[in-house]
Amino acid sequence: MRRKSLLDRVAHLGQGAIETVTILGRSGLFLVHALLGRGGIGGGFQLLIKQLYSVGVLSLAIIVVSGIFIGMVLSLQGFSILAKYGSEQAVGQMVALTLLRELGPVVTALLFAGRAGSALTAEIGNMKSTEQLSSLEMIGVDPLKYIVAPRLWAGFISLPVLALIFNVVGIWGGSWVAIDWLGVYEGSFWANMQNSVSFTDDVANGVIKSIVFAFVVTWIAVFQGYDCEPTSEGISRATTKTVVYSSLAVLGLDFILTALMFGDF
């Protein structure tokens, strides 16, 4: 194989940078047109309800089951560590803070990217490959308004709600393990939690995180579907990209948001 010259490598790097900036610009315009562009569609609310069902309600099972197990595991791990210091009564506080600040928004966003995000990409990609998007355009209906916008809003609304549900069932799973199984005193479990959890610092910050994740994950998922190559291989590549890019974006943004919210600098 011919070795690449330094100039070739620089050109390759430049080409990659240009392509990345182009995609970012295109995805930005795509978002602006879908959310703010003129020409709404009649029956938009019904479309939103339909998407809230397929994006949100159908993700409920995986969120609830995962939430319960993660709460239970947190409780078990927390109890075994805290018991060494005689502080096992603080397990409620530990479970609640971990879920509200970190695991609730992050794990929900990761699960959402895997379940709903990949489905959104595949669905829109399939519509593109079967010319349904072209067909809408030629009927005089903007697919950005009819297909993309309801899915974006459904994602923006669903994920924060799912994250809250995840937190609630996680705390319930944790309490079940701690109180009913490990014998932590119920009063101190709940009282410690109530004393240490701040609505603005913990609950609200967690909700802000999940809103940011909802925006990024849904944007990536819908754009990847709309921008994919309309072949079976292209759709499969776009679906993979959705899960990988969303997961990396969630984890990266989580660090930035945590630093801003709890960094003390």
């Binding site: 562009g37 349904q132 072209s134 067909s135 009927i139 005089g140």
Partner: protein
């Protein structure tokens, strides 16, 4: 304004590139109003691209695309969507909405663009489906239809809003002889009955020539020839004659460019 009202669609000096590859170079095409015009050419000659340029789903790198007196590439996004209400397209795959049944597919343009009462929408849908012979399939889902039926339902949907221009993208591909005969008849019948302008993009010579009033043959990024089917059959242009008669060899060679066969087999000596 468009120069002449006799033409429903006019492409003036249109060039189109994909990346650095030129697909069309300074092409002029005029589609007469109220007629069936066939656009033909070998596979890969850019016929579907031409259709997408006419629907402004692609923007030309140069030139003007006038449809019903509007230069489509110059329109804003929302004006363009308004202009498309006057156009219907039958896509190669039919492109039916897979989550809607036959009735809802045909009713879709009426629901989004009109505020007609439900009874009237039902009547119009029944009329359109009757025109394509599928009134009995009203409750079927797209995956329960054959390829030919899908195209007929898509045709009913394309005429739901009574467009002025109807474009067909390879309507005969993959159809059995009966379905093909039905489509050929429908295209001509709808054109004459509704008084619309039809553009049929196809490489099926016999079928297209049998219904077209006027033909364009495109290839090598240009218009190779234009005229009535009979004019083109009698053309002296060798490239055109090869296409019209279906000769396997000619200006378009049978062999893809390759090194010398003898050298390839025996190696250089």
């Amino acid at each position: 304004m468009s120069a002449d009202n006799a033409y429903a669609i006019e492409l003036k000096g249109v060039s189109f590139k994909r990346g650095t590859r030129s697909i069309f170079n300074n092409v002029d095409i005029q589609i007469p109003r109220g007629k069936v015009t066939g656009i033909m050419g070998p596979s890969g000659s850019g016929k579907t691209t031409l259709l997408r340029l006419m629907g402004a789903q692609l923007r030309p790198s140069n030139g003007e695309v006038w449809v019903n007196g509007q230069n489509l590439p110059k329109l804003s996004r929302s004006d363009l969507f308004d202009a498309r209400k006057q156009m219907g397209v039958l896509f190669q795959s039919g492109a039916l909405f897979t989550d809607l049944d036959v009735f809802e597919n045909v009713a879709f343009p009426l629901r989004v663009h009109t505020e007609l009462p439900e009874e009237m929408i039902r009547d119009i849908v029944l009329l359109k489906l009757q025109a394509v012979g599928l009134r009995g399939a009203i409750e079927l889902m797209p995956d329960e239809l054959s390829g030919g039926m899908k195209r007929r339902v898509a045709l009913a949907r394309a005429i739901a809003l009574d467009p002025q221009v109807l474009m067909y993208d390879e309507p005969f591909v993959g159809q059995d002889p009966i379905a093909m005969g039905v489509l050929v008849r429908l295209i001509r019948l709808l054109n004459d009955a509704l008084g619309i302008t039809s553009v049929v993009v196809s490489h099926d010579l016999a079928e297209t020539a049998s219904i077209a009033d006027f033909l364009y043959v495109v290839g090598d990024g240009q218009v190779l020839g234009q005229g009535t089917p009979q004019d083109l059959m009698n053309s002296d242009n060798p490239r055109l004659r090869q296409f019209m008669t279906g000769d396997p060899d000619g200006p378009v060679p049978f062999h893809y460019p390759a090194p010398d066969f003898r050298e390839d087999l025996l190696g250089k000596r």
